[in-house]
Amino acid sequence: MNRAGHNPATRIPSVRTRVAARMIVFLCLISFLSGALKPARCQTTAEEYQIKAAFLYHFAQFVEWPGSTMNGRDLSLNLCILDGDPHLLELRNSIEGKPIGSRVFHVRQLSPAQEIQGCQILFLSRDQARRQSAMLKSLHGLPVLTVGETSNFLTDGGMIRFHLKDNKIRFDINLGAADLSHLKISSRLLLLATSVNLGNGTDGGR
């Protein structure tokens, strides 16, 4: 209801301009600094899914699958993600074709009809939260290392869950679920985990 006549905001453009100019100078300074100093520190930041891809690569080195899963002829180690997962490219660019021991890492996309057979690792990103619970149930007891990132991933029966702590990537392990699938997780990995849950694989909580 207030119908004020003039508007103080329009009164003093020169002050405003000066403040804006000062802001810009300040911002430039900061950005210069960031540019100049960056090379020394550039190793310490990276894209989330590039880092996660590297984690997945390492996980494969610290997990032992039961003999039957790795049939001798096939030299590939398959990381599967559900089709339509937006992180396919990032994962592929980071780890596709990398040697891992005597094997070669491959990133495969799993369409709904396709069998999970041949997948040693299944990564369910947050974007797949809708399908997560059903997917994990269908894998119950199968020798597939399941890695995810939603808060209820481990309670849904998943094995390794990524989380962010202070902008750095950490992970929790559900050893119960891994045991159930006859996967052996190296103690080195267990030591690095934020929490290790010994539950029965489906309902242990975290």
Binding site: I12, C42, T44, T45, G84, R130, I169
Partner: protein, 698 residues
Amino acid sequence: MQVHHFARFVFQKPPGCRRLAMVSQRAVRRVRVFAGIALLACLGIPDLPAQAPDLTQKSLEDLMNIDVTSVSKKEQKTSETAAAVFVISAEDIRRSGALNIPDLLRMVPGLDVAQIDAGKWAISARGFNAQYSNKLLVLIDGRTVYNPEFAGVEWDSQNVPLDSIERIEVVRGPGAAVWGSNAVNGVINIITKSANDTQGGSVTAGGGNAGQGPDSFRYGGKARALGAYRVFAEGFHINSLPALSGGNGQDDWRLVHGGYRIDTTLTARDSLTTEGEVYQGDAGELAYTIVSLQPPENAILTLRDRYCGWNQLARWNRTISPHSETSLQVYFDRWTRSDLTYNVDLNVFDIDFQHHIAWGARQDIVWGLGYRVSSDDVSPTLRLSATPQDSITQLFSSFAQDEITIRPQSLHLTVGARLEHNVYSGFNLEPSARLVWTPNSKNMLWSAVSGADRTPARSDTDIRLNPSALPGGAQTGYLPVLVSYLGNPKIKNEQLTAYEAGYRNAWTSRSSVDLTAFYNRYRDLESYEPQAMSIETNPAPTHLLIPTVFGNGLYGETHGIEVFANWKAASHWTLSPGYALYAAHLHTQTTSLDTTTVPGTQGGSPDHQAQLRSSMSLPWNLQWNAAAYFVNRLPAQSIPSYTRLDSNLNWRAGEHLSIILAGQNLLRDFHPEYNGSDSSVQSGMMRRNAYAKIAWAF
């Protein structure tokens, strides 16, 4: 399954007026500021074509020390949703430096956020902005905070500690088929973090020239039988702002609130979330209001608006099979609010059941049933009363939606409808059809046609508002004159048919674009119909009554475009530009005598809004963020256009400590954002302010 996001997307937005070209000196200056920001940002990235290092060569221990530059994709798979969705992630919240939810919502392109005074906002999508915008549905963890009795959102009592928010999903455009009535021009869905994700403690304190706080305490732990829990308490005191009309606005705003959330795993298939909150607040305001039928009839009063309330919610999720999940949610919400000129209390009980079932390979169905009962009491004052004084209303609702895969991976059709029954307008059917075409993983096109209704509330049917009185004169026979707005029990739904189309593109892993166009047709929009004068004896003394009755005398169209992009200019720097165009063409039916609502509505939402946000990671765990928002003028309110610049420097000083230094409204000492005639409150001038906040986690 988090309550119902998979299905609940549908929406749009409309109002404003069209004023495409208004190049003033101020605009030129604004361009210069934008250019300056862009320039500065460029200087910071000498390594643009940075090749990603081969991280697999690093050890796990090294990997654990790498900072994540972006939590890249939105939590929700918005790229597949056939609606104009924008998700504010927890990371966006952290980077924004915002102190409250309305300031966060400014980053959503196409949303119209205008601050009225220190603690009040007018927020809408796609036009029709007002202090009580009645076409935008807002929910917190599945609990509606759109007031079903008074058709609007009291933003000053919707406070969630910002570091407990998992994400905010904002859908512009109608969502009524899934979310229910009043999701006409948009839905804002605030989702808090699971207690599993807020373990440990944190203490936050802050302040600046705008006020003290929010100061907060939070602790999360695990109890054997309960599972994960958290408790929190938060308080703040925001200083008063200058009034637009001059002088002190007397609008300082205080709030304390506390609450909890528990996430319990009952069995392998069942989980239970319980949460609750209690709050108390008060805010000052200068309001022009009637005080008596005798001189002086009206006055600008310094009022103290006091409010308190509590709410309690429980949600039980059950996985029946890999293809079938249910959720049952119950909540109770109570609040009271009053100042000298009104006194209202409200209770709401709501129960909602939902079943999600994948039927065969091609159909994904969600259906649900809901019941809500609300009771309220409006203690009569000279300014505001209701007949009957108290009322109990019930709402019955049901909905079903089917997402049909026409061609696997590329073509999906979603059809849905909601059937509701409410006491004011009876049965409403709100249908929607949405088509998504994903020719490849980088492009997605969608279009939708949907219907949505804004249902009447007590404030449309039963209320009597006496905003002012006039002294008598010879023409009135020396009787005083009372101006009165009267509810109309026969009022109908305001109805919308919306046509939307959108395009999303992720050309590269570094950039994405989202474009939406909408065309909305409204029928039976609310109007204010002047009636013949009459003589009234109660309240005494005998006076002449000039009544205005609510009607459905307006109709019209709105249209617009909303576009936003994300561009990762370098590994440590992200830019997010956005723009929204909006135009309204409203008309008065020949039977209507309303001459003020059309210009007030058309000129009360900006026709152009633009924004540029920048987020940059610096060495030493520093992060610098800035956001500039341009909002064009509001001709109906004499609000000039403005550009708002907010910036902050965020420092993570080790594992436990983080410090943020922030400035808001940096370009001007003062500017107004809203002065709508719908609000009796004297608008304030937003002030340049700076604050520091320190957070300790343990």
